[in-house]
Subunit: 158 residues, 2 copies
Amino acid sequence: MYPHEQTENTKELKARVEAFKALCRSRSLRVTEQRLEIFRTLAQSKAHPSAEAVFAAVRKKLPNISLDTVYRTLASMEEAGVVFRVGLSTKARFDADLTPHYHFVCMDCGEVYDVFPQPGAPSLLVPQDINRFGEVKNANLQFRGICNRCRAAAGKEK
Amino acid sequence: MYPHEQTENTKELKARVEAFKALCRSRSLRVTEQRLEIFRTLAQSKAHPSAEAVFAAVRKKLPNISLDTVYRTLASMEEAGVVFRVGLSTKARFDADLTPHYHFVCMDCGEVYDVFPQPGAPSLLVPQDINRFGEVKNANLQFRGICNRCRAAAGKEK
DNA sequence: AACCTTGTTAAGAATAATTCTTATGTTGAA
DNA sequence: TTCAACATAAGAATTATTCTTAACAAGGTT
């Protein structure tokens, strides 16, 4: 890596960390060393690390951090929209309907709903350069959010 | 459900089961009661059941079936392209890059690669009626397949 | 129809991923 | 500085999935 690139990256990283701090404050989430370090790690990585991998990296700076803190923090960062979770919740679900359609998955209860493309909509186009990585077997488009039932339930309990 | 619908559905189910048997034979997979019952259960369900849920349903017909058999069978059915797995493998991965892009996920090693949309490509359009189900927080398009590294490794071991 | 060969299964132990419990520590508002 | 609320570490507990092993059964062969 060239020095000027490093400078650029360092600048950008600092800016992102500041933005993260501001976001935390705006949500009345406390700015802890653990949260900052986890965010820095993730913001610097291009490897889509697992919770375990983030844990290993952060540990070098904060040897006493617990894996649970990493899980909790990643979840709250996802909630805040600062990071993106690749994949889904831990439980696999299956579908025997092979006609082209997508899924709406509730981030709260895990329920899965079928979503069919609008008639006449262009079919999903696969980016060309994907073949650089390997052989594609299938595509999976899912939308995540909170289903009506969970939203209603969350409203009531207040 | 109206009687004639049931007849239609039953007919269609039988046809699908026959096709499944044929597929098994063509792949020299043995046609066992367990496989048939698991396939029937899944083909009749619109609930995107989990392995556990399939297990519970199949158990009513085959009280001695094991959960492990359900897992094994679902995996082989996915491999055969008969069912679709909603979501991903069990390990969560995270990404701090929030610019619009997709992922290519290796079904073998779990590695995640970034895939960027082609310049000028229309952005992903969200089907209108998705709002029937709840509030969408984000969209996730992923392609699954075998990455070059795993393909090479699989080739060697033969 | 009995007979193998080999793939398949049940049972339960083992592992992997994630979450919970509880006591202690820390942030940031007053 | 004080203190309430929130966050953390540690490790136990839970959940989801996979492995191990011995018994079993499918389907080709005789």
